[in-house]
Amino acid sequence: MRYEISKEPINIQSVIDKVVEREAGAITTFIGTVRELTDGKKTLYLIYEAYETMAVKKLAQIGKEIEERWPKAKVAITHRIGRLDITDVAVVIAVSTPHRADAYEANRYAIERIKEIVPIWKKEHWEDGEAWVGNQLETVAYPSGKPEEGDLHE
């Protein structure tokens, strides 16, 4: 199970362990944590929810895309859902490759794709309210019915 949605805190080492390979010289991880301030506004906590079965499929698809683009790459991703407090770990992406440049690039690719195609949503809770994050006016059109690779956002 290299792709998981978890209701429990993520054990980072166990995600890393899934990509250890005798042929790998480099492992990169990306750890997404809950940040206190976004655009100057103070977050109290977040709620993540997922369309769980589809989310696992889409994480696995991202892993497959990476293993096709970066031969010998090995990928594991766990995303947490439920309530997360400041500094809690929301997502861990581990990528191993024989050479380090690939490990950085492939890992970066994974987080960008997660933000495009994996059905997970977060609701921010502030002192004075709460809201689902994202483009709720849905003003970005996806003519093909799905996000394209070019639709990368920071």
């Binding site: 997404g32 993540y48 929810e49 997922a50 369309y51 079965t53 589809m54 989310a55 499929k57 995303h79 929301a90 997502v91 987080i111 997660i114 933000k115 495009e116 195609i117 994996v118 059905p119 997970i120 949503w121 977060k122 609701k123 689902w132 994050v133 994202g134 483009n135 709720q136 006016l137 849905e138 003003t139 970005v140 059109a141 996806y142 093909s144 019915g145 799905k146 996000p147």
Partner: protein, 77 residues
């Protein structure tokens, strides 16, 4: 019959997580129009849609038993 799934702010707006309706033979676009007419939903035109957990374009035809999920802008990571 078809199961329709709502998530995030769409679920809040629809005030329900799912719906059973007969959508067989319709396109996704036609289903969206119908749902917006019958439920207090925000604009669905540009919301992504998944059938049986795969993204589909708006002209996709719905078959019996298909599970249709509306996927608002995702915000994982």
């Amino acid at each position: 019959m078809n199961k329709i799934l709502f998530f995030a702010h769409l679920r809040d707006a629809a005030d329900r997580e799912e719906l059973q309706i007969k959508a067989v033979g319709k396109t996704v676009a036609e289903l969206k129009t119908e749902l917006m007419k019958n439920y207090d939903l925000p604009q669905l035109e540009t919301v992504m849609t998944a059938i049986n957990e795969e993204f589909v374009p708006d002209d996709e035809i719905i078959h019996d038993g298909d599970v249709i999920a509306f996927i608002p802008s995702v915000s994982g990571g």
